[in-house]
């Protein structure tokens, strides 16, 4: 397996087939410098295990939490991250960019 994006969706399918709850996170917009392009994805399972990335590692922790919430309530989420975020020092992007991430449960 060399194509990393394919790996992520394939992994999501395998996790789901094993009976796990799964959510997908996708970068849908970026402003300024951002480490991962629009379309970058992450798959998260109910234990917090994840594959793929939506940033250079700065916001993955927050996205995993939102993904687990999405698995619980079944709702989609559109998240904004950036320097203007009130939690910037915690989950902000060191590069100074802004990104929008869509989180959805796999149902």
């Amino acid at each position: 397996m060399t194509d990393l994006e394919e790996d992520i969706l394939q992994t999501a399918k395998v996790w789901k087939s094993l009976g796990k709850n799964v959510a997908l996170a996708t970068v849908v917009a970026t402003w300024g410098s951002s480490p991962r392009p629009v379309g970058s994805q992450m798959a998260v399972d109910d234990s917090g295990q994840f594959v793929g990335s939506v940033s250079g590692g700065c916001i993955e922790g927050a996205v995993v939490q939102e993904a687990q919430d999405a698995m619980s309530d079944g709702a989609v989420r559109l998240l904004d991250f950036g320097v203007s975020n009130s939690q910037a020092w915690e989950v902000g992007l060191a590069c100074g960019g802004k990104i929008q991430v869509f989180v959805e449960p796999l149902v």
Partner: protein, 232 residues
């Protein structure tokens, strides 16, 4: 995302067919759009159809505003391909690095001693003449072609086929002198200046590469530049 959508998306990818996943970011509703299906395209609102063609061409996903909210168009183009002509030393690191970068690699060399599976694990190896092999592979706009043999008998037919294709990158190993002689032969073969100028030669970005692996880095960097900056 519905599991059925995910399974359908994965089967498009297995079949190496382009597809766009359209997701409404407000409601989470989604659908797959097959760019080969003219009826579906005809039914799309004009701004969506336009954005759809844009993401397929540029390979960059984007959002588009519709009456029903923001729609995210996530493009899944078939993988990039690299055709390496000449199963020489440089081809070994280049095949491995390109595979890591997401390319499906085919190595072509009519000399069967060079083109052995042992020297090129995990890539397709064809012990055929390059023009025959490339006519089967059908290079497209997501294909890069690099010739490495220095031997006009092998490189030239490959380059002639490459220049007749829409490949996004064509590179040829060889010194400035070798390259000048090559361009003269291609001119005699009827290729005009615009066509000849598509060939990156001497191949690779000028980073002072010495070892085969470093030369592979310079070639892969130049391929990336062509893909992302010249045509992105």
């Amino acid at each position: 995302m519905k599991q059925a959508t995910l399974h359908a998306l994965l089967s498009y990818r297995t079949d190496l067919r382009p597809v766009v996943l359209a997701t409404n970011l407000v409601t989470g509703e989604e659908g797959l759009i097959d760019p080969g299906d003219d009826r579906v395209i005809a039914d799309l609102p004009a701004p969506v159809a336009e954005a759809l063609m844009g993401v397929l061409r540029s390979d960059k996903s984007t959002t588009v505003e519709t009456d029903d909210g923001t729609l995210f168009l996530n493009v899944f183009n078939p993988p990039l391909r690299l055709i390496i002509v000449g199963a020489v030393h440089i081809a070994q690191p280049l095949a491995r690095m390109a595979t890591l970068t997401g390319y499906r690699v085919t190595v072509i060399d009519p000399r069967s001693a060079f083109a052995s599976e042992e020297r090129f694990p995990d890539v397709t190896v064809l012990s055929e003449w390059p023009d025959d092999a490339m006519n089967e592979i059908k290079p497209d706009s997501r294909t890069a072609i690099v010739t490495l043999t220095h031997d006009p008998k092998i490189d030239d037919p490959a380059l002639e086929t490459a220049l007749s294709s829409t490949a996004f990158y064509v590179g040829a190993l060889g010194s400035k002198k070798t390259h000048a002689a090559r361009l003269e032969r291609l001119e005699k073969a009827g290729f005009n200046e615009t066509q000849r100028e598509r060939i990156c030669g001497p191949v690779g970005l000028a980073i002072g590469a010495k070892s085969p692996s470093e030369i592979a880095v310079s070639i892969l960097a130049q391929m990336t530049e062509s893909l992302r900056q010249k045509y992105g």
